[in-house]
């Protein structure tokens, strides 16, 4: 553990020849990401899937200006099959009917990158998101399935590490607020939960300088 810590410190403090180059005015950097999201609708997701922490996978592209400002376009997807259920006095009863939820976020965020060292770049940002939510289950009519798009807001903050000259990694915390999908019916209505968003821990692998 100490060795790992020392390695990170050396990486952070080192000023390799590449880092001393002037940053490009615009840099276009594609990335892939995976995240683990704690949904705000805890009761709802626990009832259907057994846990409110679920993975998203996706990617996007980030454009930086002089390595200070950035705009990021990201798309990701969550898809999982649980069971329809109901709750009674705090207990969940699943009825064995498969239910599949697909959430496809498309987010545009912008923010600022702080240069504390050549290899470690904290950043914060935010922006709007567009979210497509699909819910289908067996024995449901088209009218009973859900397929909607709503907008939400995103705030994010994290740290980017430069691993190699053309490859970086970022870890951030991503908060999304997505009203208008939950709370109108289903378990989310019973639970009084109206936000499809939540807090996610994300890891990105970024290609580019």
């Amino acid at each position: 553990m100490k060795r790992v810590l020392a390695f990170v410190v050396v990486l952070a403090c080192a000023a390799p020849a590449a880092a001393q180059e002037e940053p490009a005015f615009l840099s276009i950097r594609p990335f892939v990401m995976g995240s683990q999201q704690q949904f705000a609708a805890v009761e709802t997701f626990e009832a259907i899937f057994g846990t409110a922490t679920q993975p998203f996978w996706g990617g996007g592209v980030q454009v930086t200006q002089e390595d200070r400002f950035y705009v990021e376009l990201g798309a990701s997807k969550f898809r999982k099959t649980g069971e329809r259920a109901f709750r009674n006095t705090g207990q969940t009863f699943r009825v064995g009917i498969p239910l599949t939820v697909t959430i496809t976020p498309f987010e545009i965020t912008g923010g600022y990158r702080f240069h504390l060292g050549q290899r470690v770049v904290p950043y914060i940002g935010g922006g709007p998101g567009w979210y497509r939510y699909k819910e289908t289950s067996n024995f449901s009519t088209d009218a009973e399935n859900v397929n909607v798009r709503k907008t939400g807001l995103v705030v994010e903050g994290g740290v980017e590490f430069r691993l190699f000259r053309w490859v970086g990694a970022a870890a951030d915390v991503h908060f999304a607020h997505i009203p208008g999908i939950l709370g109108e019916g289903g378990i989310s209505k019973d639970a009084g939960e109206k936000d499809l968003g939540g807090v996610a821990a994300r890891v990105k692998v970024i290609v580019g300088r």
Binding site: N88, T89, F93, R94, G96, V101, N138, F139, V146, G185
Partner: protein, 551 residues
């Protein structure tokens, strides 16, 4: 000589009348014999639409009056009926034998503790049948060693019988309107097993579940108007299983049958009510014959706890009362039933039935869901329904009111008519105890189209005591027909059937089943729970589907 012969004949007739006269409670083992499995299959006549079985039908009143006339029972000043000669008594655990004997002695000089009956957590104290049971019970209840004491108050079925036929057709206009209106067609898609692993106990007048030949001695009797009906003497009665309940292809459907009226294992239905109720729960379905049932694959446990006129005439030793019902509930719970249907009940006073309540709580505690009819007394002063009221205080037992045909399929709305402006069936008792509603039917404004139809006996061949004495004859219970009934007795089995399907879906807790049925009921009447419909009309499809994330 001729005069002597005449006198001798008169004496012989008097002796025969005395010998054959109805005497209660001392059963002659040879008076009623059932040869199980000996008999032919039933004749099935199909639908009969000219037999009236409604809550207020003269025939229904006549059956009740005849039972009262034939059997000994006591009526209190408040009108409550109870079985004489015995008290239901629950002693406290801490009470010593001496204390129990002292308490009993204080109640009546003739009182003694009888052998504890099977499936009872209470004792039976035998008293002189001439003693006032209520007074004796009150004296016993004052003892600190007694938890409760009561006479066994009489119970009765909650139906209200009439008389294939799932879809309406030219030859049979009613159809089974009562099944699609609770979302059953799509529920069967979700749960095609329709309760195959679930045993539903039917606590009722028995069930026509096997072929048999019955030999019985039927004495003369006077009806409620004093009209003498002649003794039939020794008669042989053919009895057949209802082919739409017990078909050739579903051997093993009947589980642990028991008869608490006769204290034996052959709970044969001599009334038709229990067979009709069982049909609504689990009539064989999708076999191109007659009608459909709700959970058509369930196993059925016939538990006879209500006596009928023929039971009384055959000399049954027990009545349908708090004692038999409480024992029947415990029997069902101890013998594998997962759901109990009780299309039976009584009104007060007294407004309590502690033995029955104990039994209901015991059964629910063992994981049994109970559906109880809410009562048919709305137009008779709408008194409190004692057994149904217990259900409202026990999570896992529900009381079920009746709706009429104004409930429409698809949108589940009440399409009122001038003669019947709401969905509330005119007879269905209302009160704080009503938790759910289901189709019970009504003839008002609908005629035959408003009944709940299932297979049971052709009453023209069974209820011969409704005819004048000259036409009175031995009954035969081997001719079946599809008959329409009306009542909350018909509503409760809809709930039992849907509960069986929910249970097969994996929801085994009685409280959770109740919660599901109430949560997904279609709200009728005032918003939220109300006294006429409870939480509303049961919705089988939505109860089985439960909820998604957002819808």
């Amino acid at each position: 000589m001729g005069r002597s012969r005449a006198l001798l004949s008169v004496a012989a007739l008097i002796a025969a009348a005395v010998t054959l006269g109805v005497r209660a409670q001392t059963p002659d083992p040879n008076r009623y014999i059932v040869l199980e499995g000996v008999g032919l299959s039933a004749v099935n006549e199909g639908p009969i639409t000219d037999e009236s079985h409604t809550p207020r039908a003269p025939e229904a009143a006549r059956r009740a009056a005849l039972r009262a006339a034939i059997r000994t029972q006591r009526i209190t000043s408040s009108g409550a009926r109870y079985t004489p000669g015995r008290l239901i008594v629950k002693f406290r655990e801490s009470a010593t034998d001496a204390a129990r004997l002292a308490a009993v002695a204080s109640a009546s000089r003739t009182a003694r503790i009888g052998a504890r009956p099977s499936y009872a957590n209470f004792d039976v104290v035998l008293i002189d049948p001439a003693d006032d049971g209520e007074d004796a019970a009150k004296r016993l209840a004052t003892s600190p060693d007694v938890e409760y004491a009561q006479p066994p108050y009489r119970m009765h079925t909650m139906f209200v019988p009439n008389d294939p036929l799932y879809k309406p057709s030219v030859t049979f206009s009613p159809g089974q309107w009562n099944l699609p209106v609770i979302g059953l067609e799509s529920a069967w898609d979700i749960q095609p097993q329709a309760g195959s692993t679930i045993t539903v106990a039917v606590l009722d007048t028995g069930v026509a579940y096997q072929n048999a030949t019955i030999t019985a001695t039927v004495p003369a009797f006077r009806d409620e108007r004093g009209v003498l009906y002649p003794a039939l003497g020794r008669i042989t009665v053919p009895y057949s299983a209802a082919p739409q309940l017990v078909g050739a292809g579903n051997a093993g459907r009947i589980v642990a049958p028991y008869d608490f009226i006769w204290d034996r294992t052959t709970p044969l239905d001599f009334d038709g009510h229990g067979t009709h109720v069982s049909g609504t729960i689990g009539q064989l379905t999708n076999d191109n014959i007659d009608t459909a049932g709700v959970a058509f694959n369930v196993k059925l446990m016939p538990v006879k706890v209500i006596d009928s006129v023929w039971d009384d005439l055959f000399g049954a030793p027990n009545f349908g009362d708090d004692e038999t019902v409480a024992r029947g509930i415990r029997y069902a719970a101890d013998n594998g039933a997962k759901i109990i249907n009780m299309s039976i009940g009584r009104t007060g006073p007294p407004d309590t039935a502690p033995a029955v309540e104990d039994a209901i709580r015991y059964a629910v505690g063992k994981g049994v869901f109970i559906s109880i009819s809410a009562g048919n007394d709305f137009e008779d002063g709408n008194p409190k329904e004692v057994v149904a009221e217990i259900a409202s205080r026990v999570q896992g037992a529900v009381s079920v009111a009746a709706v009429d045909r104004n409930v429409t399929a698809g949108d589940h709305k009440c399409a009122g008519t001038p003669t019947s402006p709401t969905c509330h069936a005119y007879y269905s008792s209302s009160g704080s105890w009503v938790e759910l509603a289901a189709p019970g039917g009504s003839e008002r404004g609908f005629g035959n189209d408003g009944f709940i139809w299932q297979q049971t006996f052709d009453f023209r061949l069974t209820d011969t005591f409704l005819f004048p004495p000259s036409q009175y004859r031995a009954p035969r219970f081997d001719v079946m027909a599809v008959i329409g009934y009306i009542g909350t007795s018909m509503a409760a089995p809809h709930v039992s059937g849907v509960a069986a399907m929910v249970m097969q879906q994996g929801i085994t807790s009685p409280a959770a089943i109740e919660a599901a049925l109430e949560r997904f009921a279609l709200d009728l009447g005032s918003a939220g729970r109300d006294d006429q419909y409870g939480f509303g009309l049961i919705d089988a499809r939505n109860s089985l589907r439960a909820l998604g994330v957002a819808r």
